[in-house]
Amino acid sequence: MTAKLALDADQVARARELAAIAGAPVVELARSHTTVAVERATLRLAGLGGADPDGIPWVNRLVSAVVEQVGLEHGVSGPVFGALARGDSTDLVALAQRAAAGSVDFTVPAGKARTAAHRLGTRAVRDGLRTVDRRRAERERLVKRLGDPPQRPWIYLIVATGDIYEDIPQAQAAARAGADVIAVIRSTGQSLLDYVPEGATREGFAGTYATRENFRLMRAALDETSKELGRYVRLTNYASGLCMPEIAALAGLERLDMMLNDSMYGILFRDINPVRTFVDQRFSRQIHARAGIIINTGEDNYLTTADAVEAAHTVTVSQLLNEFFAHEAGLPDAQLGLGHAFEINPDVKDSFRLELAHALLARELFPDAPLKWMPPTKHMTGDVFRGNLLDGFFNLAGVLTGQSILLVGMMTEAVVTPWLSDRDIALQNVRYVLDSCGGLHEDFVPAPGGFVQKRAATVLAEAVTLLERITDEGLLSSIADGTFGIMKRPPDKGRGLDGVARRADDFWNPAVALLDGGAA
């Protein structure tokens, strides 16, 4: 894409600089804290899986036991691998079982015990990370062999039956019908669970539980379909929530390809404590970076609670923050699926041209990021005929502005989670627009100084102003003020705060060490 907006380069640079200033203290926060989820994720990387007979994962049992005895601030790996090193159990599962029964004494190992624990823990986690590496290499091989989608944007479809065994055939059907990316929507409420359920599940509400086994089943099914189609079909799930780091680890281990992972979504939309979120987010993104997983950020959500015209600049600001945090966590531009959405009230005069301005602004601010373009949801109604039309114009805006990943809108958005036929109709819509207007961006030349260019400049200017305010106030205070999505979230409130601890001086976590160190 050649530049069509004539953006002011200085202002763009200024915006990035401000985002870095606003983000720096939060990175510091993340580097100086740990959470139960980070610790559990570490144990998962170290190979601990499964759950007790009540379905409580062993990682939860084990971390709880350690935290109870020695607190969280040292990291659980020292105590856990110390116990293993001293022969308390033969492996992590056995240890977790014994710990659950109350028969292990955990201590923060010191001296030689410390060295032994660290060696054991590092080796275990390194093995886990190597599996992640192998999965990544596997993906690269498959993409090489089978090929990427022939067109941009990639077509991204959701399935959401709640039952993995209904999801699978629907996902395969969607892929055959043209989907390049399948996202399995998660059951409502899972993001508030402070554990990751186990096994294949059939009982989700409006989505299917994210479990390692469900990941595996779906990935295997899509591998099959990929071969059949001669095109690598990507799989997406959600990291966000109280288990962000763990789900990121499982996704890396099961070769998911994309993950919903936003630096602020959990705070704003699930009332998860800000500190908890920022700490979890950084760790999870480090794993995504390692796994070659593309993150999908959640700016679209702001526009479901705030007005898409008034709040357009908050999307830009959030994208810049997500970019900063992602880079810091090691994610290159190619893994940055920054989100934005077609959510302007269609009754607003010139709404489509406003959408074009916003979409092009994101495109030109982040030229190398695989932007994720989200369909209308808020202003969809039960009028499914109008809905399909609106989705068509959303698709057109995507094509005209060179978006990278197109989340396919459903005419039944306001009615039900998508039906099989909804997806088919939606894909047909996308295909029509892509095939009939594929090259139309050639003829889309915003008039110099015209409506589109002016609107983009306004949004950018508003974003800079807001970023200036945020750097003044601090990001955490801004979040507390309701800057994003009109949600007010103070740093000392929200779910999961009790699972956060400032790292003690002797804090040790082999995953953190390996990931921060960069080597493994």
Binding site: D163, E166, G382, D383, A414, V415, P418, W419, L420
Partner: protein, 245 residues
């Protein structure tokens, strides 16, 4: 096999319905929409969209579950009960068995001027990659075109000694296609002794293929018919069956 509509889960029975009721939009209107949905078997039913049009009408979109079962074994369809032949087999059959060209007279009757469908069947150009009946060397095709009055058609069929008469009807408002077809078949019955009556074939996108009896014709072809199907049917009905008889 018993099946049910499928929304996103096997057996969920979900369907979408839309309609207009001649009432202004209010709660009572939505209740009326639900009443209708209920009579159609939707339970539960959700009115997901209602929009008043002008002063006295409201358009509704309703989603809901039906508990009707569909028994695919009890479906009666007009299956193709004849083999699908290649053009050369059609020609061969006519040449060897009939020993003269088979004569087909085609027309759009009544006030219907939609010739694209009958032309697709008759003209060389054909449709969907298949050549039309004119392309078959052993068929003689007389295409009378659009808006042919029934008496003219009967006369032409007699004059051309038609083996088969092919009639197209596309306009269906007020059941025009049914009226015209009935008028046509009655006229042929009147004009020809049963044994010499040409084979009567009608086609068009909105016919129910099972209505041959009611309409007094030998065969009905619907949406998406191809010339080869028609040619094969003609061989079957005019040659194979005659042989059998």
């Amino acid at each position: 096999m018993i099946v049910r509509p499928y929304g996103d889960t096997t057996g969920d029975g979900m369907v979408q319905v839309s309609f207009t009721l001649p009432v202004p939009h209010d709660r009572r209107a939505e209740g009326a929409a639900l009443q209708l949905a209920g009579k159609m078997g939707l339970d539960p039913a959700m009115v997901v969209h209602a929009k008043q049009m002008g002063t006295g009408f409201t358009f509704f979109v309703v989603y809901g579950r039906v508990s009707h079962l569909v028994d695919t074994d009890r479906v009666t369809v007009v299956e193709r009960d004849f083999p699908l032949l290649a053009a050369k087999d059609v020609n061969a059959a006519v040449r060897s068995r009939l020993r003269r060209k088979l004569v087909v007279v085609g027309a759009c009757i009544g006030t219907d001027a939609h010739t694209v469908g009958i032309d697709a069947i008759l003209n060389i150009k054909g449709v969907a990659g298949e050549k039309g009946l004119e392309y078959y060397r052993e068929l003689r095709v007389v295409n009378l075109g659009a808006q042919v009055p029934v008496p003219d058609l009967v006369r032409a069929a007699g004059a051309e000694k038609a083996d088969a008469v092919l009639v197209s009807q596309v306009v269906t408002q007020r059941d025009a296609h049914l009226h015209n077809t009935r008028e046509m078949s009655a006229a042929f019955r009147e004009a020809f002794p049963a044994a010499r009556r040409p084979l009567l074939v009608v086609g068009g996108p909105r016919f129910d293929e099972a209505m041959t009896g009611e309409l007094g014709v030998d065969r009905i072809f619907g949406r998406g018919t191809t010339p080869r199907e028609v040619a094969s049917y003609l061989v079957h009905a005019l040659i194979e069956r005659k042989k059998a008889a």
